[in-house]
């Protein structure tokens, strides 16, 4: 069953982005070298960047359709987004960061849900700290928790581990795998690191210079030859 259907065109400077793919559940890797347009595609799914042409649909909901004039704003898309740099709010505590989505949408507090996700990501000891006082790995775990607590229909990751060193990557990946398998959260995961994608992805969409050059299973990561896109 198709969960996410993306068919977008956009001119970005010299890059002519023309990307079509669909994804079932699981974790779809957007894989390719820097400048291939991976982040732009994810931003379009989130609603932060408007395509020139095309459409984006999630389950039965059309999020964007240029021809029909549909463009659901990001705050109504219910898509969680974990950014490369975390983007935690510096003026709020970890607890307030985690609670932000619930407050903005006016949902009532669900203590059980909050505690379950804080435990899943091992962030309960950090709740009263400011983002500045967190390590890179802790910051990204809080960012994942914050995105999860807004009850997303889809989670987007834009190189969430790129700023972390090797040991920290291994600290976070197991949490994401748990999320994928236990919570059955559909994901789109951007990276140019094959090793990272082998751990998390269930299918691969390979981008090069703004186009999809291949789509399939994890074997695409091997063909890409690991270091070529390092």
């Amino acid at each position: 069953m198709t969960v996410l259907a993306v068919n977008v065109e956009k001119r970005l400077g010299t890059l002519e982005l023309d990307v079509r793919f669909s994804a079932a559940g699981g974790a779809t890797a957007l894989f390719g070298p820097s400048g291939a347009g991976k982040t732009s595609v994810v931003n379009m799914i989130a609603g932060l960047l408007t395509p020139d042409r095309g459409s984006i649909a999630l389950d039965d909901t059309v999020l964007f359709d240029a021809a029909a004039g549909i463009d659901v704003p990001p705050y109504r898309r219910h898509i969680g987004y974990v950014f490369q740099e975390g983007r935690l709010f510096p003026h709020l505590s970890v607890r307030q960061n985690l609670d932000y989505g619930r407050r903005m949408t006016g949902r009532t507090r669900d203590v059980g849900e909050f505690e379950r996700i804080a435990a899943l990501l091992d962030i309960d000891p950090l709740l009263d700290r400011r983002p500045r006082m967190l390590s890179g790995g802790e910051r990204q775990r809080v960012a994942v928790g914050r995105a999860l607590l807004m009850r997303p229909r889809l989670l987007l990751f834009d190189e969430p581990l790129a700023s972390l060193d090797g040991a920290l990557k291994h600290e976070i990946l197991p949490y994401l795998v748990r999320l994928r398998d236990d919570a059955r959260m559909p994901m789109v995961y951007v990276s140019h690191a094959p090793a990272e994608l082998r751990a998390i992805a269930t299918s691969v969409v390979q981008l090069y210079a703004g186009r999809v050059v291949a789509a399939g299973g994890l074997e695409l990561l091997d063909k890409a030859g690991g270091d070529a896109f390092g």
Binding site: Y75, R76, P90, H91
Partner: protein
Amino acid sequence: MLDLSPAEWTAVTLSLRIAIVATACALPFGIAVGWLLARKNFWGKSILDGLVHLPLVLPPVVTGYLLLISFGRKGPIGAFLDAYFGIVLSFRWTGAALACAVMGFPLLVRPIRLAFEAIDRGLEDAASTLGANPLLVFATVTLPLALPGTIAGIVLCFARALGEFGATITFVSNIPGETQTISAAIYTFIQVPGGDAAAARLVLIAIVLALVALIASEWLARRAALRFHGE
């Protein structure tokens, strides 16, 4: 030591009242204009920027005169306010507050604009993916992050309003108990024989008020910085 006469006390409290009202009324406009100048491109942006900064470079007496001919009872805006809202500004303390607000406005807008420009737009994007509509993004992310700059602007505007002389005296004159601020009172006392002592007392108060405003802003700015960067 400071044995103020009732007239001197009146000048001090009136100055504070005028400066507080001027700053408070200018603040929403200062935030709006600072945001517009930082974030939006529109026709006439440089004209707006120039208009905002004009009171900084014009002789204050010119600003006061322009206020008088537009907000005076026979001026177009003044006549309108009088006819429809019963608001009279000329020769009233409210007029002094308007003059002070106009004179302090460029000092208010500038740090607010710089603060808006310095904000990482990515944080606003993050807030919108978490379900915050644009108004909520502004209220919960943009404005709090611009707080240190806003405090700096408030203090500068308040200090300017407290010391304003030229535009105020031109627009609303120098009426004891109504429009005679500390600055105007000092000027008056210096003009009359034997007024030196009274002038000196008010000068001392002006210095103390300015220092208190500076220290308060330092303290507030440090608290705001701690909120962002520390425990």
